[in-house]
Symmetry: C2
Subunit: 130 residues, 2 copies
DNA sequence: CGCAAGCCTTCCTGTGGCAGGAAGGTTGTG
DNA sequence: CACAACCTTCCTGCCACAGGAAGGCTTGCG
C-alpha cells in the first residue's frame, strides 16, 4: 500500500503518517521508486495510533502503549497506569475549563450586549484580581 | 518600575512581559541604561492581560479586548460577542474532553491492572474503529 | 577600590503535533 | 505525449511562551 491508501484507511492525513515515521512510530519499507510501502501490520499500527490520539493520549503515551501492545508478556497494570494518569490529566483540564466556563457565563449573562460602553466583562478583567 | 517589579505585581513572568512587548501588547519606555520603564498604566494593562489569560482568552482575543477596553465609545455588544465565542469554544472543548473521559474511565474500570497481559484498554485501541 | 550578587539586556533554540507549500520525481490515462 | 494525480524531501509556521547563553548595569560590602 502507498501512503494515500493507508491515509484513507487509517483516517490519518499523509502528513501525519510521514511525521510518525520521522519520530519512529512506524517504519514502512520503501519501493524501488522511493515510495513508502505499508504492510497490513503498519496499517494496523496506524489505526491503533489514530484511536489512541482521539482518546487524547500524547505521542509519547502512544509510543509506550504501542510498545506494551507488542509485548506479549506485558502486565495490564502498566497499561492501566498510563491510562489512569491520562484520565487524571483530563479530569484536571475539565475542572479548569469548567471554572473558566462558570466565570465567563456569569459575565456574559450580565452583559447587556447593546451599544452602550458599560460592560461587566471588561469591569471584571480590569478589576485587580490578586 | 523595572520588569522585576511589574512581574511581581502582575503575577506574570518577566519572560512573558517581554514577549507581550514583542507582539505589541504593551509598550514600556526605556531608561538611559536600556532597562524597560513601566508606568502604572502598563502594570494595569498587564494585570488585565493576566486576568484575561486565566479566563482562557487567546492572545488575539486579548488584543481585541484591550482595544475595546481603551475605547470609551465601545459597544458592550462587541465585548459580549468576543466572550460568547470564547465561551462556545470552551463548551466544545469540555464536551470533547468529557467524551474522552467517559470512554477512558470505562476502559480503566474494566482493566484488571494485574500482571497478566490481557487488557481491555489495548483491545479497544487495537480494535478497528471506523 | 575591587568584587560578588542580583538585577537587566538581546538573541537563539525548543516545545507538541503537525499543516502548508515549494520544487521536483513517478505513474496511469486519454 | 501531455496532463493529472500521485509520491518524495525540505523548509517554514503555528501558539505562547520557557530555558539558557553571553554580556551590561547597579548596589552593597569589606
Amino acid at each position: 500500500m502507498n501512503i494515500g491508501e493507508v491515509a484513507d484507511k487509517s483516517g490519518l492525513p499523509a502528513k501525519t503518517i510521514r511525521y510518525y515515521e520521522d519520530i519512529g512510530l512506524v517504519t514502512p519499507n520503501r519501493s524501488d521508486n522511493g515510495y513508502r510501502q505499508f504492510r497490513d501490520s503498519d496499517l494496523h499500527k496506524l489505526t491503533f495510533l489514530a484511536r489512541a490520539r482521539t482518546l487524547g493520549f500524547s505521542i509519547e503515551d502512544c509510543r509506550t502503549l504501542m510498545a506494551l501492545y507488542e509485548d506479549d508478556s506485558r502486565a495490564s497494570a502498566d497499561v492501566k497506569s498510563v491510562a489512569s494518569q491520562h484520565l487524571e490529566r483530563i479530569d484536571q483540564k475539565i475542572t479548569q475549563l469548567q471554572s473558566m466556563r462558570d466565570t465567563l457565563s456569569h459575565l456574559v449573562a450580565e452583559c447587556a450586549g447593546d451599544n452602550r460602553p458599560d460592560c461587566p466583562i471588561l469591569n471584571d478583567l480590569a478589576c485587580h484580581h490578586e
